[in-house]
């Protein structure tokens, strides 16, 4: 890790610690704000939106391994603004498209005026219907994460037996959304699309789209996994702090050996997951042979470990953890949703087994 990355991490840590107050976050959610505009502006002012955008497009061109600690902080501070989705995920696919597309969207992603999100991995691709002269782009995208606040969505399109990825401005006529409040404090949406097809929306096609799909969702795994590590660390820290000050039967909870051993297990799982996620990010950045395997393994590990860790955090807190105004349960809720993004752990493991069986030469 270079000084540059370290600096970014330190400044992110300082900003979030000093400004991303949990009570304020809850207050903002209660007032119906899908994101906090001030934070969103600050993230972009501090250059976070540009972290992984290529230098040629005025970004910093950092790898995922360089910024994994920053992604962790998003989990740790329960950041609900979809920066990871917009800048780190959608931004990457846009950066793989033509220069025209890059010029059109990346400045907006960097300055925060574009908030891009991505369709679920199992979304039914959009279609093109009608005569060549007046074709329409149609389809439904369900459970689009942060779809309620996004300005754009990246969606798969299937046409002429070819895959494509399109980038759609959600303010276009012919696009409607049914917004919903999400259990993790975000605003999701079902998006219904029925508008004249304009081929400028197509980012990539054919083989390039296939590669992009793979890359997109593996990257989603890595980003989600790193966020999950931050969630585990946050849940563990709160539990340690709480059990040290809370007394029962005249003793600090933290002095009970059964709880000590379980907190040790929380630490073990957090560190194991962190080690694997970091290695998976490195492999991804270096396009290593085992990058796909490590990405699958990392997300599968985090899903299982963070489920247990956040559950244990609630259990060791007791009643207070079941209230909405206390922080620890929000780690649990965020993780519960992150677990199925971009796919369920069982699907990741099935893919992992396939990878292994393909790699063992008889």
């Amino acid at each position: 890790m270079t000084d540059e990355h370290k600096m970014l991490q330190n400044s992110a840590e300082r900003y979030l610690r000093e400004n991303y107050d949990f009570a304020a976050r809850q207050h903002s959610i209660d007032r119906g704000n899908a994101i906090d505009a001030e934070h969103w502006r600050a993230f972009s002012d501090m250059g976070w939106t540009a972290m992984t955008i290529p230098e040629a497009a005025d970004g910093f061109g950092f790898g995922l391994a360089d910024i994994a600690p920053v992604i962790e902080l998003f989990g740790y501070y329960l950041v609900r603004e979809p920066l990871l989705e917009s800048a780190l995920l959608a931004g990457e696919l846009i950066a793989a498209a033509s220069e025209a597309h890059q010029t059109r969207y990346l400045p907006g992603i960097i300055d925060g005026s574009v908030i891009a999100t991505v369709a679920q991995q199992d979304a039914t691709p959009l279609t093109r219907q009608g005569k060549a002269s007046g074709q329409r782009l149609q389809g439904d995208l369900q459970f689009v994460p942060s779809g309620g606040i996004a300005s754009h969505v990246l969606a798969p399109l299937r046409h002429d037996n070819q895959p494509h990825w399109v980038m759609l401005d959600l303010s276009l006529e012919g696009i409607s959304r049914e917004r919903y409040q999400s259990h993790d404090g975000r605003q999701g949406a079902h998006i219904t699309i029925d508008l004249p097809f304009d081929d400028r929306c197509v980012l990539v096609s054919g083989i390039q789209a296939e590669v992009a799909t793979q890359a997109l969702y593996q990257r989603a795994m890595l980003i989600g996994a790193a966020e999950g590590v931050g969630i585990m660390q946050g849940a563990l820290d709160l539990t340690v702090e709480y059990t040290r000050q809370r007394e029962q039967f005249g003793q600090a909870l933290a002095s009970f050996q059964a709880l000590q051993h379980r907190m040790a297990d929380m630490l073990i799982q957090t560190e194991l997951a962190r080690s694997l996620v970091l290695a998976a990010c490195h492999a991804w950045d270096n396009q290593a042979d085992n990058a796909s395997t490590l990405a699958l393994a990392a997300k599968a590990k985090v899903d299982a470990a963070a489920r247990t860790v956040t559950q244990e955090a609630i259990q060791m807190h007791g009643g207070i953890a079941t209230t909405n105004e206390y922080k620890v349960g929000h780690y649990f809720k965020r993780m519960a949703l992150l677990e199925s993004w971009p796919q369920h752990r069982d699907a990741l493991i099935a893919q992992l087994i396939q990878n292994r069986q393909a790699s063992i030469t008889p």
Partner: protein
């Protein structure tokens, strides 16, 4: 000899007519131990009219005179028919206690009103700083003429925002050992000096409250048992809380739902209902469900033979709650991103709009969230394990 199959049919027939679609919907949409309050109250009144509201009570106080098997059948049929749950802190917990410790006057005043739903009770045990460690409670009651003057606060009082009565443990003597100076009081919630603050749960809904007592005057006749003997009253009640629940009935209902969810969850070219990995995990939970059912039957048998379930209640509570949580996870494994929407209106029995998510997935996330509390309330899983270690194993 009772014909249980005929009894089951009688219950089914009653449910078929009494349980309206609205009430059923309220039952289906229940995401915790409590159903929507209005539906619960409406259902209580119907059961009361029928004479079935207090299956566990002796006939002299208004019970239907069923044996354990009948009560199990009744509970099971109600659950499977999606009846709402009745707010049971009165009938299930306070009632039996009053029969045992209450004065004649208390029995005559409170028991009928409990049954009819005129009195809705909540439980004032825990305090901030004294959750599972009840003996450290601080809410005080000081004698002043014919009244106690109560000061302090109670937390985690379920349904206090709907209740009109509360039973409380209060400290009446600070000079003795913590357990020795506690008394048991019945308090009307509309007494001046009481204020109630709802606590929003993790699912965004209110079930718990904090209740504050500021110089609240409670007539001395509302004392249950002897002054400073509240600890034994409370212990009686806690054992009832632990032993009084048939987890198997809930577990079976959860399992049925998961079978259905699995059939509706796409998986590659088929569905999760034929995915060997998921089915194996599910089968392991089913096996534990079968074992739990048999353990509950063993306890029921012991109780029927006049025994006290004792520490075996702790075993059932640990297994029942932790297994329920595992089943919640299995459901979560199935619904995927449909778990995201947090829309209270979807869970209201009156809601008639679009569902946003598949019908089978509407309650899953809220159940997953709310059921974390199952291993916390009524004695945490840690406390139960300690009870087992001390009382059964003698460690």
């Amino acid at each position: 000899m009772i014909d249980y199959e005929q009894f089951r049919q009688t219950v089914k027939d009653f449910l078929k007519t009494a349980l309206t679609p609205e009430l059923q919907r309220a039952g289906e949409l229940t995401t915790s131990v409590f159903s929507e309050f209005n539906a619960a109250l409406a259902w209580q009144k119907k059961l009361h009219t029928k004479g079935w509201i207090a299956p566990d009570w002796p006939t002299e106080f208004g019970g239907p005179g069923w044996d354990i098997q009948q009560r199990y059948i009744f509970q099971e049929e109600c659950k499977l028919a999606n009846a709402p749950s009745v707010v049971m802190m009165g009938i299930q917990m306070l009632g039996p206690m009053l029969m045992h410790y209450g004065t004649e006057e208390q029995k005559q005043h409170y028991l009928p009103r409990m049954l009819s739903g005129e009195h809705i009770w909540c439980q004032g045990y825990s305090e901030p700083g004294a959750g599972s460690d009840l003996a450290s409670l601080k809410t005080s009651a000081v004698r002043d003429g014919d009244d106690y003057v109560v000061n302090g606060t109670k937390i985690w009082t379920s349904m206090a925002h709907h209740a009109n009565q509360i039973f409380c443990l209060v400290r009446t003597d600070k000079s003795v050992k913590p357990q020795a100076g506690i008394s048991f009081l019945l308090i009307e919630l509309n007494t001046p000096g009481i204020s109630i603050t709802p606590i929003v749960g993790l699912d965004g809904q209110v079930e718990q409250c904090q209740v504050f007592f500021d110089a609240v005057r409670v007539p001395c006749k509302n004392l249950v048992g002897a002054e400073n003997d509240g600890w034994s009253v409370a212990k009686f009640l806690l054992e009832f809380e632990r032993g009084g629940h048939n987890f198997t009935i809930d577990i079976k209902k959860q399992l049925r739902k998961i079978f259905r969810q699995a059939e509706l969850t796409p998986w590659g070219k088929t569905t999760r209902s034929v995915d060997p990995v998921f089915q194996h995990r599910l089968a392991e939970a089913e096996i534990d469900a079968m074992a739990l059912e048999q353990a509950e039957l063993r306890i029921k048998g012991a109780v029927e033979a006049g025994g006290n379930p004792g520490a075996l209640s702790s075993l059932v509570k640990v297994v029942g709650t932790e297994l329920g949580q595992r089943l919640n996870e299995l459901s979560m494994d199935l619904v995927g991103p449909a778990a995201s929407p947090q829309c209270p209106e979807l869970l209201s029995p009156e809601y008639g709009g679009d569902l946003l998510v598949p019908e089978h997935a509407v309650t899953t996330m809220a159940e997953y969230i709310n059921n974390r509390a199952a291993t916390i309330y009524g004695g945490t899983a840690e406390i139960q394990r300690t009870i087992i270690a001390k009382k059964v194993l003698g460690l």
